[in-house]
Symmetry: C2
Subunit: 140 residues, 2 copies
C-alpha cells in the first residue's frame, strides 16, 4: 500500500533557526519558503534532499498540537513520518478494516503538498506517528 517516504516531520521552536542549522551544519541548503496551514495549527517549511524532504513544523496559534510536543522536547525533534499512498480513502478504509485508528474525524484534510492526508494513531504503528499522503498526480 505505502509508496515513497515523502518526508520526515521535524518539530522546531523556530523554522528560521532550523533552516539555518540544516544549511550551515549539514549543507542542506534547498529550503522552500515557510507557509502557514492554519487549519492544522502549524507553520511549515520543506527542505529538499535528493530523494525525500524534511518538513520543519512550528506551532501556529495557541491551539497548535505542536505546543505539547515542544513542551516535552524544547529543542524540537522527530514528530512524524509521511508515506505516500495512491488513494487516501482506499488506504483509510483498508486500515480501519484491520483495526487501525485514524486520528481526528477520519476525513482527509488537505496537507502541505496540496493533496489529502490522514494521520494514524502511534499506538497501532509501533509508537510512530504516521502520516499518509495521497501522491500528487503530477509528481515523480
Amino acid at each position: 500500500m505505502i509508496g515513497r517516504l515523502n518526508h520526515i516531520g521535524v518539530a522546531t521552536p523556530s523554522i528560521e533557526d532550523s533552516v539555518r542549522m540544516y544549511a550551515d551544519l549539514l549543507g542542506a541548503t534547498q529550503a522552500g519558503q515557510p507557509f502557514e496551514l492554519p487549519a492544522q495549527g502549524v507553520r511549515v517549511c520543506f527542505i529538499d534532499l535528493p530523494n525525500s524532504q524534511i518538513e520543519l513544523i512550528e506551532p501556529l496559534g495557541d491551539d497548535s498540537p505542536i505546543h505539547g510536543f515542544l513542551a516535552k522536547n524544547p529543542r524540537g525533534g522527530q514528530h512524524h513520518v509521511c508515506f505516500e499512498v495512491a488513494d487516501i480513502l482506499a488506504a483509510r478504509d483498508a486500515l480501519r478494516a484491520k483495526g487501525a485508528t485514524i486520528l481526528g474525524t477520519g476525513e482527509p484534510r488537505i496537507g502541505a503538498h496540496g493533496t489529502p492526508i490522514l494521520f494514524l494513531h502511534p499506538r497501532d504503528m509501533g509508537g510512530v506517528l504516521v502520516e499518509l499522503m495521497e501522491t500528487p498526480k503530477e509528481a515523480h
Copy 2:
C-alpha cells in the same frame, strides 16, 4: 554536504512484530533478513521503500543503547535519521570545526550498510539524533 535520506531508524521491542505490522497494515512487504551488530548493541532489519528505507532496531545484549529508549517509549518509536555523505571523515572534521559534537570517540564505525558511520549529538541538531553514513561506492 548531506545527500540522500538513507533511512529512518525506528526502535522496536520486536523486529518480527514490527515487520508483520508494516506488512499487514501498511503493505510494506520488502523486508530483508534481520542481522546483529554486536559492537553497537543492536539487531536490525531494513524494510525497503521505493526511495528510502526503514531500519528497525531492537536491543541486543544488556548494554544496548536501545534499552533506555524503549524504557521511555515501550511501543518503540522514531530513534534517528540517517543522511548519506560522500566522505565521512571530511564531514566529521567540517562539523567539528563548526562546533558540533560527534558522539562516542569520533572515530567512524562500520554501520549496517557496511560503510563508515557517525552519530551527531541531538543537542546540535534540533533534538534529532542524526546518523551520517558514507554512501556505498556501488550504490545509486
